[in-house]
């Protein structure tokens, strides 16, 4: 927890803000000490060198002049000088800011800008008449922007932006203003406090520095290993625009100095191809500080990213469409910020930008060159993988595996999975719906379909195995699986089942075969890892009698 002394100077009732800041401070790892000026005493507090404000000696000062108060002053300004109203306001605020800076040279100054008000007097033509209130408000907001651009210790808390996100109706409650001089509604107080703490935390170095991105269905639609470069959705294909927008957002962050890291369950070369070859990719390899694509669990890989970049876990944001990966990372590395992503990729950018996770403190040229520096550093150091113990997590999510034979209900899904699986596919035999029906009714073949669900959701049918009953042995004609459920123990569950079946049928041996394709290198050691022995000629064998059932954490139902 960082100690921080914040003074609040407002011309409206600010007690609710104080209370809410207190509530939220912990989430930002801040130990806040608050000073609240008496009601509407902004000028007196700042001008009087021996005021309580200066005795308090804050690290930050919030100067909250409300648009409602501004409107009252505007009403009392005579018509012939209303077109100069903004100048008066700006010079007053600038004067206050300069005095504050002078007397509190070490502290940061947060000034609120002004929410736009539709006053129903000039309407759209407020743009045309310089005496209109809205016309003045906008000029003041530009003035504040200029003030902040020129001075590294002055920050603008953007109420105008907040209002464009949440709308005036949800931020302002006229009843509360009339009853209690509150210029923010209940929700308004919550949003306001969050934004203020965000800025404070960023200004003292709590800013996020790194965005870790998943690839499949996060940076593009589809699965690169299965769909291939020509079929992933990015740019003009399918809902590719949603992913293009996310990439553009990430790219702008990168240009602002945020490090981008890739953390994906993929074969590295395959995962890199879109970055190298796809014409519509916005992100390229040179934008990525560190590219981690393998089949290890993501928490371990994030640890690798962390130690390579040498930044704190609390300065990292991890984005992944898969609830399993999010939950795993949250559980194992709770300091990493893991936003709960919307289901629909079309919502990604709005959702993420509204979270405002990357509030910068002060930018330096160092920030802007960080990606290149890091890339060079990585070239020098080789990555060492660190593995975290996943089994506790796997136990905790209550996985349930459901076995089915091929039937009329799962036939379409089996055919579809067969068509789409390229990576986890041992012999890459494709089965049409007709083929599936044939297996279902065959005497010497058995089709096994496995579905998986857990606390995090229903994954549906994710694994298919076709067994041929030979004279001497059982031959695994094909075994394919969705990559989304890798490393969950589904293969152990499946093999236990196959062996059990072989035993019942009095077979002694089971034979498996791996037929390499350009896309299935992922499973080249599949049978070896499961304890089969190599027979030559691509064939692997396991003995049913000697078999010890594999340990996994999936509960089985039929």
């Amino acid at each position: 927890m960082t100690k921080y002394k914040l003074a609040i100077l407002g011309d409206s009732t600010t007690q609710l803000i104080v209370k809410e800041l207190d509530n939220q401070a912990k989430q930002f790892n801040l130990d806040l000490e608050l000073y609240e000026s008496s009601f509407d005493q902004i000028e007196q507090e700042i001008k009087n060198p021996s005021s309580n404000l200066y005795t308090f000696n804050p690290d930050g000062v919030l100067l909250y002049i409300s648009v409602e108060k501004l409107q009252e002053i505007y009403f009392s300004t005579s018509l012939d000088i209303r077109h100069l109203f903004f100048q008066d306001v700006m010079s007053k605020i600038t004067d206050l800011a300069i005095t504050l800076k002078d007397r509190l040279p070490e502290s940061k100054i947060f000034i609120t800008n002004f929410a736009e008000i539709a006053d129903g007097v000039y309407g759209n033509n407020a743009n045309k008449y310089s005496e209109a209130l809205l016309n003045n408000i906008r000029r003041i907001n530009v003035g504040l922007m200029d003030l902040s651009c020129k001075d590294s210790t002055i920050f603008i808390l953007d109420i105008a932006l907040m209002q464009s996100i949440y709308g005036r109706k949800s931020l302002f409650d006229p009843r509360l203003y009339i009853q209690a001089s509150l210029v923010l509604s209940g929700d308004g107080v919550t949003f306001f406090s969050k934004e203020l703490l965000n800025m404070i935390s960023a200004s003292i170095g709590g800013a996020k520095k790194c965005l870790i991105l998943d690839l499949d269905n996060t940076l593009w639609g589809g699965v690169i290993g299965d769909d291939g470069i020509e079929k992933i959705e990015i740019g003009s294909l399918g809902i590719g625009k949603a992913f293009t927008r996310l990439q553009q957002w990430a790219k702008t962050l990168q240009q602002r100095g945020i490090l981008l890291a890739i953390c994906s369950k993929n074969t590295e070369e395959v995962a890199k191809t879109p970055f190298e070859l796809h014409p519509e990719m916005v992100l390229r390899l040179e934008d990525i500080s560190i590219f981690v694509a393998n089949w290890e669990d993501k928490a371990s890989n994030i640890k690798v990213i962390q130690s390579t970049l040498n930044i704190g876990f609390d300065s990292m944001v991890f984005i992944d469409d898969n609830p399993f990966e999010r939950a795993l990372v949250r559980k194992i590395i709770p300091q990493v910020c893991v936003p709960e992503m919307p289901e629909d990729p079309a919502d990604y950018v709005e959702f993420l930008s509204n979270l405002n996770l990357f509030e910068p403190g002060t930018l330096s040229t160092l920030d802007l060159e960080r990606t290149k520096m890091i890339q060079k550093e990585i070239e020098r150091n080789h990555l060492k993988n660190q593995f975290s113990n996943e089994s506790d997590f796997l136990k905790s999510i209550n996985m349930i595996g459901i076995f089915d034979q091929f039937n009329q209900f799962n036939t379409p899904r089996i055919a579809q999975l067969s068509e789409r699986s390229n990576q986890y596919n041992l012999r890459t035999i494709r089965y049409s719906e007709k083929d599936v029906e044939k297996i279902a009714s065959s005497d010497h073949q058995l089709g096994i379909a496995i579905s998986l669900r857990d606390n995090l959701g229903d994954h549906g049918l994710i694994c298919v195995i076709v067994l041929n009953h030979g004279n001497e042995e059982i031959f695994i004609e094909n075994w394919f699986m969705s990559c989304r459920v890798l490393k969950r123990g589904v293969e152990y569950l499946a093999l236990n089942k196959i062996v059990e079946h072989a035993k019942n049928k009095h077979y002694k041996n089971i034979i498996g075969e791996f037929l390499p394709t350009p896309k299935n290198a992922l499973v080249k050691d599949h049978y070896q890892e499961l304890g089969f022995t190599f027979q030559g000629n691509g064939k692997w064998m396991i003995n049913v009698e000697d078999y010890t059932p594999k340990v996994h954490y999936i509960k089985e139902t039929v």
Binding site: T13, Q15, L16, R175, L176, I178, Q179, A180, L182, S185, G186
Partner: protein, 80 residues
């Protein structure tokens, strides 16, 4: 929802706003009985009550209640 149930929910809101687990209110409780019940806490109670019951009071109502019972009556009326 009947008045007793409303009172129960309002009581929970009081506990949250005053950050006091043991507060027990009844229909005749008023600002006189509860020391911390000032105008600002009153606003917080109103914000929370409106959110809980999905209702909106008139400005004039907000100041007019003499005790918790009258507030519960107002909630009951707006719920219909």
């Amino acid at each position: 929802m009947n008045k007793e149930l409303i009172l129960e929910k309002v009581n929970q809101i009081f506990r949250k706003v005053f950050d006091e687990e043991n507060i027990v209110i009844n229909y005749s409780s008023s600002a006189m009985d509860i020391e911390e019940w000032d105008s600002l806490n009153n606003i917080q109670i109103i914000i929370a009550v409106e959110k809980e019951f999905k209702i909106r009071f008139q400005s004039s109502e907000i100041r007019g209640w003499n005790n918790v019972g009258e507030m519960c009556d107002a909630i009951l009326k707006l719920q219909k």
